[in-house]
């Protein structure tokens, strides 16, 4: 059987037609990824609240009975009544000592008078500093002023040598400074100008030193007032702060434990178990959203990008004269440019359907920690198969084995029938070989 061929012009036509299709798919992927991030963020907030709720039902109040009960239930001595009471007493004593110290602190005792005095002094100083600052700015705006000051020009300490260029430059810069400011300040030599500057600078330094001191005093008083206010507030909120701390300790203690272990721990406390189911379900939901997004969006995205690059490269390459008469096996070209839209649509349907079911799910109380059924099956009703999720794959294999060995098991048969009716496909993920 002879092989059929396609010429370069036809390949270019097909590549040209494929590019907008791939671009549209890329945009769809980008939109889905953006939406995914928003949904994850919202879910993260829900998980945080679920932890808080679990801690709240485990430690409803700071009263000794609540603490003792929770401490025993969770095998967590640091939240026992005695330990918590000791921590509260220590905290209260510390805060009261802080307040007592501040009551003896002059800055705090005379705070209003001192703050007023500082404020008045600082205002006066600002008014005195401003004109001096302006005058000093005039000197510093002169060319080479700082160099003249540093060299000691205009003083007995000047060490410039008459046979060097810098000696004459200082002479010239000094004359220019006197020409610029001499009349305004009533001086005729650089030495006089320099003396006047140093006098004004000394006055400015003194005022700035005073300002710094008043600012330090003001800060010390404000700091004392702030410390007292904070201590007062912390004392008023002593119980609620320690309740929050205890709940934090509970969350820290429970976070690393396995959910099955937690379920056993809370088995005798129905309200806690319900809170745990919600938390576990939300965490599973978060996990599923990430895995399905990776599998059904990010992995296909790589194939789309690769196909786009290839199409764009071919459009450039096949225009070259040396490729004009090149031919390609028809079968290869057909495979490369076959319409993949139906397959993509099928994948998107699976993705969106599973997401809608996951995000819409709110019936966490139906979950049974003693049953092997994963959250995926509870949340989606197995309407969408996702064998790439390890716990789902294990469950399906287990269920399949059970079915083979227990054909008479009515419950399994009924389950399988329901699951089978809801299946969209044979469960294999067969999408997106774009290469």
């Amino acid at each position: 059987m002879s092989q059929r061929w396609v010429d370069a012009q036809e390949v270019m036509r097909l590549a040209r037609a494929q590019i907008p299709v791939l671009m549209a798919e890329r945009r769809r992927i980008q939109a889905a990824s953006a939406q995914h991030q928003v949904q994850l963020k919202a879910l993260h907030g829900e998980i945080y609240k679920a932890w808080e709720y679990l801690a709240t039902v485990l430690v409803p109040g700071i009263v000794p009975e609540n603490l003792e009960w929770a401490s025993r239930l969770l095998s967590l001595p640091p939240i026992g009544a005695q330990a918590v009471q000791a921590a509260m007493v220590q905290d209260r004593d510390r805060l009261q000592a802080t307040m007592a110290n501040l009551d003896d602190n002059d800055d705090y005792v005379h705070r209003e008078a001192r703050l007023n005095a500082c404020s008045i002094h600082l205002t006066e100083l600002a008014e005195s500093i401003a004109p001096l600052q302006d005058a000093l700015s005039l000197y510093h705006s002169l060319p080479h002023w700082d160099e003249l000051l540093d060299s000691g020009y205009g003083t007995d300490a000047y060490a410039g040598k008459w046979y060097t260029l810098s000696y004459y430059q200082h002479w010239k810069y000094g004359d220019q400074a006197v020409a610029a400011l001499g009349e305004q300040f009533g001086v005729k030599t650089f030495a006089e100008l320099r003396a006047r500057y140093e006098q004004e600078k000394a006055a400015w330094d003194q005022l700035v030193t005073s300002r710094t001191e008043y600012q330090r005093q003001q800060h010390a008083v404000q700091s004392a007032v702030q410390q007292y206010t904070e201590a007062e507030r912390h004392l008023a909120n002593l119980a609620s702060r320690h309740l929050s701390r205890v709940r934090g300790v509970v969350i820290e203690h429970l976070s690393p434990l396995g959910r099955d272990q937690l379920a056993k721990m809370l088995a005798s406390y129905e309200t806690g178990l319900v809170a745990l189911k919600r938390l576990d379900g939300l965490e599973a939901k978060y996990r599923y959203l990430e895995i399905t997004h990776q599998r059904w969006v990010l992995e296909p995205a790589a194939g789309i990008e690769k196909a786009l690059r290839k199409a764009q490269r071919d459009l450039v390459k096949l225009q070259r004269p040396k490729h004009v008469y090149r031919r390609f096996p028809s079968a290869d070209i057909e495979r490369r440019f076959m319409d993949r839209q139906p397959k993509w649509d099928k994948r998107w349907t699976r993705y969106q359907d599973s997401r809608t079911r996951l995000i819409g799910f709110d019936d966490y109380g139906t979950y049974d920690f003693d049953d092997a059924t994963p959250w995926w099956s509870v949340m989606t009703g197995d309407a969408v198969k996702a064998r790439f999720i390890p716990e789902v794959a294990v469950y399906y294999e287990h269920r399949s084995a059970t079915k083979q060995h227990s054909q008479e098991d009515h419950e399994q048969q009924a389950f399988a029938a329901v699951a089978s009716a809801a299946d969209y496909d044979d469960g294999r993920d067969d999408f997106d070989d774009m290469s």
Partner: protein
């Protein structure tokens, strides 16, 4: 900013205008001091030297040599205008400074002549 060549040209012009016969790149070797003066009037013993900071420039004076020359200048034995190339801004500034330096040379020589007569 003037480079060394431009600066030396200005100084040669100013010194010569004041009656000196300055020659460029003159070997100077007296006592412990040996260098090539950028400008030197051997008869009047007046000249100038540009201190450059380029790597490998061995013609410049060392600090010890400058100190020795300074002592001899204070005695009125010779007069060398020393210029740090980093301090030269404009030709006008350099010319103004060179005129003041030569005024000072003249003042010192006049004072020495009066003292000896």
């Amino acid at each position: 900013m003037l480079d060394e060549d431009q600066g030396c040209a200005v100084l040669t012009r100013v010194f010569n205008a004041r009656g000196y016969q300055v020659e460029r790149d003159v070997p100077f070797e007296e006592g412990t001091v040996a260098f090539t003066a950028d400008g030197w009037d051997a008869a009047s013993r007046v000249g100038f030297e540009y201190l450059t900071h380029a790597a490998g420039d061995h013609r410049d004076l060392t600090p010890d040599e400058i100190e020795t020359l300074a002592a001899r200048m204070e005695q009125g034995e010779l007069f060398l205008f020393i210029i740090d190339e980093r301090q030269v801004d404009t030709a006008d500034d350099l010319e103004w400074a060179a005129q003041r330096f030569l005024d000072e040379v003249q003042r010192r020589r006049d004072a020495a002549a009066q003292a000896s007569s």
